[in-house]
């Protein structure tokens, strides 16, 4: 597995490398594992290692309707964000990769920019804008905020998919009698479907995890899971939070596995 490393590293080097990797993996994984284990405690406060296994904190989370409503809000907002980001990201990616104008490249950088900026700057800019539009605290406000920061991910995955195949396919479709829309529908869309779906999943994940914009743009009715989590963290550190965190972790991991499976399938076999 480490093939060539052996020759370069030598025995002492190999042991050192193994220790380093083990320490790294421990550092990366341990904190998350601790949370998961603690969520199963039967105590009133967080203990590690848990003395007895119990699901009482999961039950407690389930019983508090606020958690459920926040989760439902997050799923709704995440789905709407994914749809909006896919639409905007795909439109921008098509224009930038196929438009054939030099000034489109800076436009591409502008589309990607929100990914690089601290969310707090975007948040304090969007807050008064939403007030002006009468959207403050609404679902639309949060969805729009999340779409601003999630679109770059869709843009980059879709643009990569568009650059990944010969643009002559679309030219060919046009000469064969397909108009602009049908060229997109019957050629471009089948070619980028995988990238589109992966971009959508990423966008959902970004929204599902986003805190800062939700703090400024969401209202009591539209509060998201990260925001509620944040509020609870500021007050107390109960095992309920560990249970909720574990559920969120599991859900995110599931999304990631879905995206990865899609990516693999796309890489291995040509699209049907």
């Amino acid at each position: 597995m480490m093939g060539r490393a052996d020759a370069v590293l030598g025995v002492a080097g190999r042991i050192g490398a193994a220790v380093l990797l083990a320490a790294f993996v421990l550092f990366l994984v341990a904190p998350v594992v601790v949370i998961v284990l603690m969520s199963f405690t039967d105590q009133l406060y967080l203990t590690f290692p848990p003395t007895r296994f119990a699901l009482r904190w999961y039950a407690s989370a389930w019983e508090q309707s606020r958690w459920l409503r926040a989760a439902w809000n997050s799923i709704q907002i995440g789905t709407a964000t994914a749809l909006a980001s896919v639409a905007l990201g795909t439109l921008s990616a098509l224009a930038v990769t196929r438009g054939g104008r030099r000034w489109l490249l800076p436009f591409g950088s502008l589309v990607v920019a929100p990914m690089m900026l601290p969310h707090v700057i975007i948040a304090i800019g969007l807050y008064p804008t939403m007030l002006d539009l009468g959207l403050s605290g609404s679902y639309a406000a949060v969805v729009i905020g999340h779409t601003v920061v999630a679109t770059p991910l869709v843009f980059t995955t879709v643009a990569a998919a568009l650059r990944g195949y010969d643009h002559a396919l679309e030219l060919a479709a046009r000469t064969l009698g397909a108009n602009g829309w049908r060229t997109f529908r019957f050629v471009t869309l089948p070619m980028i479907a995988g990238g589109l779906l992966i971009g959508g999943i990423f966008a959902f994940a970004v929204s599902f995890d986003e805190l800062m914009l939700a703090l400024f743009l969401a209202g009591p009715r539209t509060e998201t899971l990260p925001r509620l989590l944040w509020e609870h963290l500021a007050q107390s550190v109960t095992p309920t939070i560990a249970a909720v965190a574990t559920l969120i972790l599991a859900f995110t991991l599931l999304l990631l596995v879905a995206a990865e499976t899609l990516r693999r399938r796309k890489a291995v076999e040509p699209p049907p």
Binding site: V29, S92, M116, E260
Partner: protein, 286 residues
């Protein structure tokens, strides 16, 4: 005449695709460009059109100190990330098959794990009677529980944990492109390992280093969640003070001024990094 001839196939359906622009353009204009502009404008126009907000930020008081501290901690976190990630990435880049998949899987999964949750995990670990203190006492490294939370150490460890994937992924990507035959050729030509590393491996991995450093540093500057949870009350970073001034004290002009400085810092580094990366690419081609 400026010149004749162009790339082989200048065929496009350009005009049609340009019709797709108004929607994303409009969205970005209303919900990204205008809000940012608004922050910048408010910082100089509110309450009066002058630079009093900046005078307040840069003058006496906690703000200038917080900005400096933010840059310091971002630099510290970036340095630690680089030192930790470089050897790990170099080892990962050599892996094949299952081991490589497990490593990249771990890194990507970590990237996608909520920052709130990961910081919360460290919050628990670092508590007065938490796992870390128990371990320190058990190992005899401390006689009594040490205060870890609310220190720069705690903030730095938490941020490094969250940001490591941003350093690792570009490093691994660059290192995997380094041709192993180059290293073998160097060995055969008799270069000592240290020389080989300094003359061959390090220069070839520099584009990845640049990308990783820029990414981690820029992201660190805007960090909010981790420093709030792990440093809350004692160590304050720029994003925290912006949020606080806006949300708690409703001093939007001041928050806007700090945000504008943070924005300018981010953009400058981003532009400088772009140039740097291009230089690196052309140099590595030579």
């Amino acid at each position: 005449m400026a010149g004749i001839g162009r790339a082989a196939k200048p065929w496009t359906l350009g005009r049609g695709y340009l019709l797709l622009l108004p929607l994303p353009c409009g969205f970005l204009a209303v919900f990204f460009v205008w809000p940012l502009l608004r922050v910048v404008l408010r910082s100089v126009l509110d309450p009066r059109p002058n630079f009093s907000n900046y005078a307040k930020v840069l003058g006496a008081g906690p703000y200038a100190h917080i900005l400096l501290y933010t840059i310091e901690i971002a630099a510290l976190v970036t340095a630690i990330c680089l030192l930790l990630a470089y050897p790990v990435a170099a080892l990962t880049a050599r892996m094949r098959g299952g081991a490589l998949q497990v490593m990249t899987g771990l890194i990507v999964a970590s990237l996608w794990t909520s920052a709130v949750i990961r910081s919360y995990a460290w919050l628990i670990l670092f508590q007065r009677y938490g796992v870390v203190n128990q371990a320190l006492i058990a190992l005899g490294l401390a006689g009594a529980p040490v205060r870890i939370l609310q220190t720069t150490t705690a903030v730095a460890i938490g941020m490094v944990h969250v940001l490591l994937p941003f350093m690792l992924l570009p490093l691994i990507a660059t290192m995997r492109r380094i041709d192993p035959t180059l290293l073998r050729a160097g060995r055969i030509l008799g270069a000592a390992p240290v020389r080989l590393f300094l003359r061959v491996y390090l220069p070839l991995s520099l584009p990845g280093v640049n990308a990783g450093v820029a990414l981690v540093f820029i992201t660190s500057l805007g960090f909010f969640i981790t420093p709030s949870l792990l440093g809350g009350g004692r160590t304050t970073m720029a994003a925290m003070i912006i949020e606080e001034e806006a949300d708690t004290y409703l001093d939007w002009p001041l928050a806007s001024a700090i945000a504008t400085i943070l924005l300018a810092l981010t953009v400058v580094i981003y532009l400088a990094y772009g140039r740097l990366a291009r230089v690196e690419v052309t140099r590595s081609l030579r």
